[in-house]
Each structure stands twice: as structure tokens, then as C-alpha cells.
Amino acid sequence: MDAADDVPALDGPAASDSAGGGEAIPIDVRFSYANERTFLAWNRTALALVTAGLAVTQLLPPFEVPGGRRMIGVPLIVLGIVVALSSLRQWQRNERAMVEGRSLPASPLPFLVALVIGVTAIVALGLALFASQSS
């Protein structure tokens, strides 16, 4: 399709000369759909984090340490809330970047998820070792 030649490159300078006062330039809708699916995937990740936190706080038997289940479950639930809200903002930033022809902004979510899950896993390991010693 030769019509594709009229579409500005997503990261090229040709996208900036079609500034129409906030008027959206024609973008490849496949990338917009992919952005939407990425948001939905993050949203399901957030829901999985919330569900995992719910399972830890509600289904596990109590630990030896008072409030031990909350120490693991609450960070997961809070992370799920943060991811749910941040993914919406990240989707908007990606969409704006594509419309304005800029390169996609970096996402803080992978680092945040890795950090919180890693710290929570260390806490869980400590709880497991502590509980095994006292029981």
C-alpha cells in the first residue's frame, strides 16, 4: 500500500512538521492497539498482585510472627494498586508520544515490580526461617 508512505515515522523528524494545534497526526493504529493491550496486561498483573496478597492474608495459616501474613500480603496489594494506576498513566504517556512522533518514554513499572517482589520475597524467606526455628 503506497498510502503508508504518507505516514510519518514514529521517531522521525517528519512527525513534528504536521503540528496542527493538538491535532493528532495519523499514526499506525496497530501500535495504539498494542499500547492498549499492554495496559490491559499490566492491569491483569496488578489484579494478580492483589489476588496474591489476598491469598496470603486470607488463606495462609497464621505465622509465628504476629502480623507476618500482612508483612507479605499488604506490600503485594499496595503494589497492585500502584501498578493499576501507573499503567493508566503510562498508557497515556505512550499514546501521546506516538501521536507527537516522539520516542516512547521509559516505564518505571518493571523496576518497581521487581524491587517490591524481591524485597517481599526476602521478607518471606526471613519469616520462613524464623518460623521454622521457633516451631
Binding site: 492497539y33 492498549e36 489476598l54 501474613r69 494498586i81 499503567s87
Partner: protein, 121 residues
């Protein structure tokens, strides 16, 4: 017949490449998301008491289930409203299409926090 996706090469007003099956994959992602929220509500409403033997939390479970239903319904309605028409592909998502899903998941998390601190230990 307006529900039938336009054929390849039918996008006369749209200047970009043909979206292919990207819109269909996006609809499937919406279905997965709605089902995930709904299943979470069902688990809290019915699964938790039967597994733990503890008293049910019908209010919180019902709230999550309703939130899941709302999220799923809004997603389906949004997909239906944004379905492709002859001559142009499906419109891209805007803020109001996605915000209910994000706020719904965050609300489920807040309900989970309430549940975590409501139970005596």
C-alpha cells in the same frame, strides 16, 4: 452486516498500514481482563469461606464482583462502540475507555487492604 470487519484494503480514509488482527487481539485482552476481575470477585464471595471455613465477606466480595461486572461490561461496550466500520479501522482507545479498568482494579486492591485489616489475627 455492519458488524462484519471490513475487508483488507477497505480503509480508504485511514492512511496507515492495515491493522490486521490487532483489534481482535485487543478485544480478547479485554475479555481476559474482565473475566479476571469477575473471577476474583467470585473467589472472595464464595471461595474464601469454603476454603478457610471462616465467615463470609459478602459485602466486599459482592463489591468486587460488581466492579468486575462493570469493568467487563464497560470493556465490551467500549469494544462494541469502537468496532471497525467499512472504510476505516476501529478507533483507538481514549482515556475514558481504559480508566474504568484501572480504577476498578485499584478499587479491588483497596477492598483487599480493607479485608486484610478487617480480619482478627
Amino acid at each position: 452486516m455492519s458488524d462484519v470487519a471490513p475487508e483488507v484494503g477497505a480503509f480508504e480514509e485511514y492512511e496507515g498500514p492495515h491493522p490486521g488482527l490487532a483489534a481482535e487481539r485487543t478485544d480478547l485482552a479485554w475479555s481476559r481482563s474482565g473475566l479476571a476481575v469477575g473471577a476474583c470477585g467470585v473467589i472472595v464471595l464464595r471461595g474464601l469461606p469454603s476454603i478457610t471455613g471462616s465467615p463470609s465477606e459478602p459485602i466486599i466480595g459482592g463489591v468486587i464482583l460488581v466492579l468486575g461486572g462493570i469493568t467487563w461490561g464497560l470493556g465490551r461496550w467500549s469494544a462494541h462502540r469502537r468496532r471497525p466500520r467499512p472504510g476505516r479501522p476501529r478507533p483507538v482507545a481514549v482515556w475514558r475507555d481504559l480508566a474504568p479498568a484501572a480504577y476498578g482494579t485499584a478499587a479491588v486492591g483497596i477492598a483487599g487492604l480493607v479485608l486484610a485489616y478487617l480480619r482478627p489475627y
